[in-house]
Symmetry: C3
Subunit: 328 residues, 3 copies
């Protein structure tokens, strides 16, 4: 595999790989994703420490241990009802913060300069994110719970909206799961940030890998100032909360392309190679000059035993040598 | 409160405040929103008069009485099955019209120059908007009814598509409710129109206010020539017709950010401060240079008794003095 | 009718008009759309030949017989479970391919240079598209089937993403239907491709025609590098898989405007003129400078007997003579 291929594995999930982070109570975290919550009624409170750090090339990232910041940051997960206390250590010389989508927080955890909720350079500050299940409302309606494919990001570097921090990599995925949700075997985070994917352009964009038949979860996030459409070859999903049909009467459209614009996010699970077989499949922005300009990456579906399928290495070679040039 | 704060209250709903408009049959209008329609089968026909007027700064607005035009115009509401006869008085020296989304109208009520359906300068013309409930179709499907968070706008000023009228403020919200829908306690209309919100930029954008626990309805409308993503801090909604889950099996995604592009609209109800408490929360376009450029406003959630929560006045002060400048 | 009016009838569906194509087994194709599949369990395999050809003005198109290429190409349809073997004859001197959305294909039918899946100039190559019904998954969820309003397009001309082929007209609609889906009486394909509709601008855009009460199907597809919002006057649809409500509890929003961006597609059926009567209705991009610039067309709803409704000819005349100029 070429040196500059970035695998999805570098982005660690707090819950799937809780033991990696010294600050995560390892047992509680591991249990959460090993299966459904033991107690369906009570939420769990977990503490994690996130480190915001400078990275080479003028970039910044979040990580779960000092010196381990990545772009995007780690996948953070909760079950509906859980609380996550995020202690953010600002190891940079810039003002920055962490602002979540989808969860409940008081104004002092807003992560915005508007509410004086940020870390000064070198400062450590704790943000509390709560979540909840749906609750019955009048008229047989339900107030939505917190479950969703969300994200977190800086809201204070550069401008009061975090424009500088976002441009430089301070973002990551946040998933809140409803009890009963299926857990994936692998997770990929794809952030369309201006004209880049995870602050890279092809062929240096991530190559995500799975074995044929694995259930993989894609979390797609938009940031920056430009508009995009995320497309995945040879796989599709329902345009609803989970990407799976919730039953035979679920009216949701099934799609393989979805708008992915600043501040938005969605996620879905697919079975790698189902109905199409192993191989190298593209994911890319479907705006033509964006994909031509490098907003494309690879999804390598290996054989079920993990071996390379016929032709895959050739396709990877083409992607690295020939792709994204005009054909005459 | 600073002088240039614009509250949501200036936009009157035809149904909530029908008595304000001389032309609305007051009792029928008031009854409609005081509860569900008395007769589930029969629709009501109401007449209103809308005045299109010039406003300071080269702007234009719609209003329910002479001299009372606002940007956006008044919220117009119907129950599915109702008819609204809109007599538009053109008090300007420009060609203009009123074109609705979501309802039924004959070509002569299209509001378009294509169908010779507009008001010449100084002209008065009546447009008829009808609505209907869903109806059974073949294959156990149903033809959609009219219920939705719609909008109305000029379709004749400046160009045959009303580009001039839209740029200058001739737009407003139109809501068609299905029997059984929950009625809100407050309503806010947010129009992302090119790089402005309700033709204003921060800090002159509307500050919407509610007390902790009130059910407030947001109607979001897009206009102009640029693309946006609407984000509300600390609140979220279901991405379906009402914003509330229609039952525990409703598969809709729950979101706090949604694309809001020219001609589109959506609405939702949230309980102010639910799970997060009172305070000053931002709503803004999540396109970074749009929010930095002034596409942001405030949602002030007061204490349940209407008093100001701790820190709220400071946040408002920051918004007016410090927001939307680059941080060094 | 003016000479430059393009009717929807020029785009032939493989299934509705299978007999037009010599390469389609005529009986099987005709049966498929005459009613539901005879055998609900087994899928059918059909072979078609598609010809990619140069058209006047530097354009290119797909067609079902030599010399019959159109922009957009023919509507291709399948029932879930069917397989379509598409033999693409490249009658041009350019590299090109056919890449489908929504269906299953192996890497050698990907239609991408990445997978060495394209037609060299003059080359004939067969692409195999399979489809499947939803299947039960864990947790009472269902893996989505293939049913949807999809599309196909070149992925090899000009760049590795087919940017040149798309700009010049190599695209069309692909519909996969679920058993039980309603079949339309007429079909219209609308492709927003950069600043054009079906590579035309007003008044040369298609005028689609139906008689009052006919159930017509719109397939809307986005391509190119710009973002759009599709709006249809006086008709609306549910924002779900079919555009019809799947039952009285379907929570989908009902809309008349939807984002239509590169690589995306959606479809819906409406009853022509239902509740509004016959007449000339506009469909257009609701981005103001796009509609002003020519992204608008006409939907002519004739009387039930096919005759012209009052005022319709005048409106068509206005569209051709006066539309899309600034009004002073």
């Amino acid at each position: 595999m070429p040196d500059n291929v970035v695998t999805g594995l570098s982005r660690r999930s707090v819950l799937t790989a809780g033991a990696v982070s010294l600050s995560v109570p390892a047992v509680a975290a591991g249990v959460a994703l090993a299966g459904q919550p033991a107690d369906a009624a009570a939420g769990v409170t977990r503490q994690i420490t996130v480190y915001a750090e400078a990275l080479p090339g003028g970039l910044y990232g979040y990580g779960l241990a000092p010196g381990q910041a990545t772009i995007p940051g780690p996948v953070l997960e909760m079950w509906e009802g859980d609380t996550l206390e995020v202690t953010l250590v600002n190891r940079t010389d810039k003002r920055l913060s962490i602002h979540p989508h989808g969860v409940d927080y008081s104004t002092d955890s807003d992560g915005s300069p508007l509410n004086a909720s940020f870390n000064a350079p070198g400062e450590t500050r704790t943000y509390v994110w709560r979540s909840r299940e749906m609750t019955a409302a009048e008229g047989r309606r339900f107030l939505p719970g917190s479950a969703g494919y969300w994200h977190y990001h800086d809201h204070a570097m550069g401008t009061d909206h975090g424009t500088g921090g976002l441009a430089k990599g301070l973002y990551g995925a946040l998933i809140v799961r409803r009890r009963g949700d299926l857990l994936p075997e692998k997770q990929f985070t794809v952030v369309f940030n201006d004209m880049m994917i995870n602050n890279r352009t092809a062929p240096a964009t991530p190559m995500f890998e799975a074995n044929l038949g694995q259930r993989v979860e894609w979390i797609a996030i938009g940031h920056g100032g430009t508009f995009h459409t995320f497309h995945l070859h040879a796989h599709r999903w329902a345009d609803n909360r989970t990407g799976l049909l919730e039953g035979p009467a679920d009216p949701s459209a099934v799609i393989d392309t979805k708008d992915l614009n600043p501040g938005g996010s969605f996620g879905f699970q697919v079975v790698a190679g189902l109905g199409v077989g192993p191989g190298v499949w593209m994911y890319h922005c479907h705006v033509q000059f964006h994909s031509d300009g490098g907003m494309a990456g690879l999804f390598l579906v290996r054989e079920a035993d993990g071996s390379m399928p016929p032709g895959a290495q050739d396709a990877i070679h083409r992607f690295h040598g020939h792709a994204h040039r005009t054909h005459h």
